[in-house]
Amino acid sequence: MMHEPQTLVPATQTKMTARDVKVFYGEKQAIKGVSIDVDMDNVTAFIGPSGCGKSTFLRTLNRMNDTVASARTEGTITLDGEDIYAPSMDVVQLRARVGMVFQKPNPFPKSIYENIAYGPRIHGLAHGKADLDVIVEKSLRRAGLWEEVKDRLHDSGTALSGGQQQRLCIGRAIAVEPEVILMDEPCSALDPIATAKIEELIHELRGRYAIVIVTHNMQQAARVSQRTAFFHLGELVEYGVTSDIFTNPRQERTKDYITGRYG
């Protein structure tokens, strides 16, 4: 059964759609029928209190929940109209198309160069060293890291600062030419300056990739996104234009949460 999104926001180009998505961890239902459209040209932020399901839902978008043994997903999620839970879907390929950046920067314990080159190499995107060099530079430039690391590409990725590591992880996601980038609280381990750099990067990447960001920081959602979805107790309570959500939310639960009255 198809469900319409709770709140329709005019999308310029819909990249992903979710219809009546339910996620169970064993007996416990974590997501209770969420329908939403993610569009190409806007950054979409998921906000909500801890345990509301926003990260769980984010992880359904590239089937990261498949790695959790007790997790079961129902409903329909499409990427460019294609059902990503169809048996014919190559999950490895899917995760290259729908990349992910995590809360804690997790570079491989390899050189900066190898961190970027690894994905393109295993996905067969590069033919030879020269190709790889181009991809590495382009990805690091897009991740806003090139100027800082160009002279030490063979140093370990883990020797970088936290903010640089996170931009390296974004560069790593970009290197395999994804269409969608999912970010799960990408700045929660970073200081304000490193956070500002990531936010600026998100602005620059907008339009080139569909971006979905989960954040606990409502100011961050307000700053970086054009669409905001508020989750509560596994439900999508409200989804709308970010400036509307933060000045005039329609739902009482959204209002209480964003004004600091929750719980």
């Binding site: 409502m218 100011q219 307000a222 933060f246 000045t247 005039n248 939310p249 959204t254 209002k255 209480d256 964003i258 004004t259 600091g260 009255r261 929750y262 719980g263």
Partner: protein, 231 residues
């Protein structure tokens, strides 16, 4: 409305609302006292209205400071944000209302003692009363976040405008018939205009209250033949 998790935020909002309530009460009293001073030719009361305006100005400054602090430290959202912005705008308008009352009071000593015999004066107290009530209700609407009360204030502005047009006509007629009273009548004209402006400002406050309470702009007012002649 539920309380904020951070109690200090609630305390600041309460303080803000308290200051605006006090400011509104003082502006309302200033209008009433200015009109009373006019009726009774009470120069002492008139001087008091002028002196009391300083407190209204001081509250405006205090609210501005507090609003900047709340925005900087609390990053208010949604209805909180609308409330705080409305508070900032409202104090600017109420300060102007206080100035109009002060201006009325300043004219009291300039009008000759025999002005009570000036026939057109009879309309002014009722006109002042309506304007003072509008200010009172607009500020009450803010305190109660009451969009309906705000709408009622907006609609009442036509009453003040009607009064003004009526006072204007009778003063002009009176001046034609009694040229010796032109100086006094000119002052009365300004007083009537001041009250009319107070009505407009109360209406503006009500519109801000409506927005703060609902998140929507107040519906456009009907502007029939009742608008003041000079606008």
């Amino acid at each position: 409305m539920a309380e904020h998790t951070i109690k200090a935020f609630d305390e600041e909002i309460d303080k803000l609302r308290g200051l605006i309530a006090e400011m509104g009460g003082r502006a309302e009293a200033a209008i009433e006292n200015a009109m009373l001073a006019l009726q009774r030719q009470d120069k002492t009361l008139a001087a008091q209205v002028v002196a009391d305006d300083k407190r209204i100005d001081a509250i405006e400054a205090e609210v501005e400071k507090l609003v900047v602090q709340v925005i900087a430290l609390r990053a208010p959202m949604a209805n909180d944000l609308r409330d705080v912005i409305a508070a900032l705008k409202i104090v600017g308008v109420v300060e102007r209302i206080g100035d109009y009352a002060k201006n009325i009071a300043k004219r009291v000593p300039l009008i000759a003692a025999n002005q009570r015999t000036l026939e057109p004066v009879s309309l002014l107290p009722s006109m002042g009363q309506v304007a003072a009530e509008m200010v009172h209700d607009a500020l009450n609407a803010f305190a109660a976040r009451d969009a309906d009360l705000a709408t009622a204030v907006i609609e009442r502005d036509t009453v003040v405008d009607d009064f003004y047009n009526s006072v204007f006509r009778s003063l002009v007629t009176y001046m034609v018939e009694n040229p010796k009273t032109i100086s006094e009548c000119a002052h009365l004209l300004f007083i009537a205009k001041n009250i009319e402006r107070i009505g407009d400002h109360a209406t503006n406050v009500a519109e801000m209250v409506y927005y703060a309470a609902t998140g929507q702009m107040a519906p456009e007012r009907e502007r029939g033949g009742t608008q003041p002649l000079e606008d």
